[in-house]
């Protein structure tokens, strides 16, 4: 079929030379129209059927010109093996034009990579994922990413959880809190000091509330208990008023701090249905209350053996024995 076409080609072109002046342009616009009609892509077959009067050579040249002008995309069909799709390119993509300034074979790759980075939004995409999706080799991918970075189109953001892992996202995007760590991380480092200060402040506020409730109701244990509760929203307000943090903290942040206090055993938590006073409340509210320890200290740790760092090496006879133990000596003032 092809050969017969090829043989007939010269005759075709000679006969349609006069018509071929405006045919290519028309053909191109027709093809574009057709592509616009099918935004998901136009197969070769549809093109063949729509432009029966056009030779395959003309069609192919028209398509090539459109591709080089970046008006359409050439894609491989996933439904039918071996066929190609032509898809209209979204010309509202301003940066598309800037890429074409570069030109060359890397254009296509850059475009593809850029598309992937854009799709990942604020979370960013890891280099390995780009590689699996585009099946480009390591070196070529590196070059592409470097050129995109130099054009200030994408940027690399270091994740706070895995310090070696870099994700790429568009230049203008602000990274998602899950990567930067949120309120507790500044410059990719965990602010232990800040968390500790907040911890102590919350504990102190709740302790004061407990003492006040004891003062107010010395005879009524039930009222004492209920009045020593404070809700998380109240705590957030107080902490923000105190101005310890440079940023204002949300209820979520304070609740995670309060959770650590629960784990310390200093406070307890209850959940109640919405109170009627607070209008912008959800259906649940968390209340917290400072509690006293059940046990001041266990007798196990009231002697030096409880906290001895070499407890496991201590035997009846040997280098470390109770008879010569320096910790026991100190404890007994010997």
């Amino acid at each position: 079929m092809a050969s017969s076409h090829a043989k007939s080609e010269p005759m075709d072109t000679s006969t349609s030379l006069e018509t071929s002046d405006f045919n290519p342009v028309n053909l191109e616009s027709d093809i574009i129209q057709l592509c616009l009609q099918f935004p998901n892509g136009v197969t070769d077959k549809i093109l063949e059927n729509s432009f029966r009067n056009v030779t395959i050579q003309q069609r192919v040249s028209a398509l090539n010109r459109l591709l080089s002008l970046n008006k359409i995309d050439l894609l491989k069909s996933s439904t039918e093996q071996g066929t190609f799709l032509y898809r209209i390119r979204d010309t509202t993509n301003v940066s598309g034009s800037s890429i074409t300034i570069g030109g060359g074979a890397t254009d296509q790759m850059e475009r593809v990579v850029y598309q992937l980075v854009k799709e990942s939004g604020t979370l960013g995409i890891w280099m390995r994922d780009i590689r699996t999706k585009t099946k480009l080799s390591q070196t070529i991918l590196n070059k592409t990413l470097k050129s995109l970075e130099s054009k200030k189109l994408i940027k690399a953001v270091k994740s706070v959880h895995a310090s070696k892992k870099k994700v790429y996202m568009l230049y203008e995007m602000t990274p998602d809190p899950s990567i930067t760590g949120g309120t507790w991380y500044s410059d990719h480092e965990f602010e232990a000091e800040f968390v500790r200060v907040l911890n102590e402040q919350c504990a102190r506020l709740l302790d004061e509330q407990l003492e006040e409730s004891i003062r107010k109701f010395p005879n009524d244990p039930f009222l004492r208990r209920t009045s020593s509760f404070m809700s998380s929203t109240d705590l957030v307000k107080l902490i923000n008023e105190m101005g310890i943090a440079t940023v204002s903290l949300t209820v979520q942040d304070i609740e995670s701090i309060l959770y650590t206090l629960i784990c310390d055993g200093k406070i307890e938590k209850t959940t109640v249905a919405a109170s009627t006073t607070n209008t912008d409340n959800g259906t649940k509210q968390n209340l917290y209350r400072s509690v006293k320890f059940m046990l001041e200290s266990s007798p196990v740790v009231r002697n030096p053996c409880g906290i001895c760092p070499v407890f496991k090496d201590c035997h009846d006879d040997g280098l470390i024995t109770p008879e010569t133990c320096i910790y026991l000596n100190k404890w007994l003032d010997f």
Partner: protein, 546 residues
């Protein structure tokens, strides 16, 4: 049955029976299991008489149990060493103290005598206690035989003493059977002659302290076959109750502690290790007002409200009969108390951050290393350190969940879990070793300063006798000056050190008791096995809710 457990048991036996034979026999029996007498004599390097004597003493104390050899039809008696009973020696001091608090001086002496002698008849006991009281200089009219008998009766009715009979069916084996609960409180009636003998002895003692007594053959007292011994379980239950009351007092306030005390006392009638019987609100109110605590009904109701939501929810309201029926669940109470001990241990040993991780894991079930670092708001490196040191100590267990069929380390999840049972086991082992350490140090210091201590004792004895003879102050001062000031200082330091060690030991026994009770009550509940799947998760949720 760890090394430290066994080591502590033998230290205690060595303390109680200072000559080495009992310790040797006991350790041999512990190693080899139940053995007949012949085998023991053959292997242990002591004379048969000594061995027989020590076995007899240990059997009186229930440290050695006798059983008949059922395999061969022979009439051999097997002797087995009871490790559990050996550890009860730790709690002797506390039991005596309890008796003193509840029943006064008489009660204290009764219990002390019984603990030192294992089992005794009531008649011998009464005589001995009476003699001791007189020697200690107590007023015989106040502490008469009658009053001692009354104390004895009250001890028995409160189940602090247990009644034992010799098993008549197997005359060659000295097996004792413990009485059923109906017979438990029957005090043997002493025969009239016996009573007259006792009373005459009493009168003789008070009138003629130095007179020679005519040798009268001791009459039969009528309770030849009835023996009494200390009921340890009852004492332990009492100590456990004390701990619970203490916990409530520190959590809420002293009134709550009193209320819990009355509740537990009301429940003493039918002791049951797991749960008490239901106690109604009206009973509590009545008893509280009788005890002198002024609480109105509403206040009491409010207190009950607050109490039921504390200490691991161990006091539960189960119904509304009698304006509210309440029960004390000892399993929950003990687990709450042991958790507090473990938490305090972790807090002191590793720091509050480690405690935070432990509590987090307990709430969330299982977490991987990475999740722990994220959730605990602690430096990742520190978090890792804490998790691994707790793991080494036995407080956490590791669970592996593999993605593939082979347990490739890069493709398996490693979850850490809190296992309370294991944690308690390791803490208990730690306490045993600490106890042995303290005892060893005490012994060592006593040996080291033996001369000084002997000197001091002699001086004190001389001073005491001088005082009785009403010597001058000058003479007493001369005797006191035998000890130079440096020596006096040393003695003072030594005394303070001994006091410290003994106090630490006493407090440690409280913890040991609590941990052991927890283990025995939760033996029926096996430690958490690997549970995956929806049904297991639902079962676990129900477990934590109930």
């Amino acid at each position: 049955m760890t090394t430290h457990h066994i080591g502590l048991a033998f230290d205690l036996i060595g303390d109680l029976f200072p000559d080495g034979t009992s310790k040797e026999v006991a350790s041999y029996l512990n190693r080899k299991g139940p053995l007949p007498f012949g085998a023991i004599v053959r292997e242990v390097n002591l004379s048969a008489v000594n061995i027989a004597r020590s076995i007899a003493t240990l059997a009186m104390h229930d440290l050695i149990e006798c059983s008949s050899d059922n395999r061969s039809d022979s009439k051999r008696v097997l002797y087995a060493f009871s490790l559990q009973r050996a550890l009860y020696i730790l709690h002797y001091a506390k039991c005596i103290h309890c008796a003193r608090q509840l029943y006064g001086f008489d009660g204290e002496l009764i219990i002390e005598e019984l603990l030192l002698n294992g089992k005794q008849r009531m008649s011998t006991l009464l005589i001995k206690v009476y003699e001791r009281l007189i020697k200690a200089g107590k007023d015989p009219t106040v502490h008469s035989l009658q009053s001692i008998k009354e104390t004895f009766k009250s001890l028995v009715s409160a189940h602090f003493l247990q009644r034992i009979l010799i098993d008549e069916t197997k005359p060659h084996i000295p097996i004792t059977i413990e009485e059923t609960s109906t017979n438990l409180v029957q005090i043997p009636e002493l025969t009239p002659e016996g009573w007259k003998y006792l009373i005459s002895n009493q009168q003789e003692d008070s009138n003629e302290p130095a007179a020679k007594k005519i040798k009268v053959p001791t009459p039969t007292f009528g309770d030849e076959k009835i023996f009494w011994k200390v009921n340890f379980q009852r004492f332990f239950a009492h100590l456990r109750d004390q701990e619970l009351i203490h916990a409530f007092t520190s959590r809420i306030d002293s009134n709550a502690g009193e209320i819990v005390r009355t509740m537990l006392r009301l429940a003493e009638i039918k002791p049951n290790p797991e749960r008490t019987i239901s106690i109604s609100f009206i009973d509590i109110a009545k008893t509280i007002s009788a005890a002198g605590l002024q609480l109105t009904d509403e206040t009491l109701q409010k207190y009950m409200n607050v109490i039921t939501s504390d200490v691991n929810n161990c006091i539960i309201k189960i119904g509304d009969q009698g304006r509210g029926t309440y029960e004390v669940d000892f399993q929950k109470a003990l687990s709450g108390l042991t958790k507090a001990h473990i938490q305090s241990f972790l807090r002191e040993r590793y720091g509050s951050n480690a405690l935070r991780i432990y509590n987090m894991l307990e709430e969330r079930g299982c977490l991987s290393q990475k999740q722990i670092e994220d959730m605990a708001m602690i430096n990742a490196k520190e978090a890792q350190q804490y998790v691994y040191s707790m793991f080494i100590d036995g407080m956490l267990t590791l669970e592996e969940l593999s993605k593939a069929n082979d347990f490739n380390p890069t493709r398996t999840f490693y979850f850490f879990r809190v296992n309370l049972y294991n944690g308690v086991l390791s803490l208990l082992d730690h306490s045993y070793k600490t106890m042995s350490n303290l005892m060893q140090r005490h012994q060592f210091e006593k040996e080291r300063h033996r001369k000084l201590i002997d000197k001091r004792d002699k001086v004190e004895a001389i001073i005491h006798s001088l005082r009785e003879q009403n010597a001058d102050d000058e003479q007493i001062k001369e005797v006191e000056d035998i000890l130079s000031p440096i020596e006096k200082e040393q003695i003072q330091k030594l005394d303070a050190a001994f006091r410290k060690i003994e106090l630490a030991q006493l407090q440690l026994t409280e913890t040991i008791l609590l941990l052991e009770m927890f283990l025995s009550i939760s033996k029926s509940v096996a430690p958490a096995q690997k549970k995956t799947g929806g049904r297991a998760v639902a079962a676990k949720l129900l477990e934590t809710r109930s």
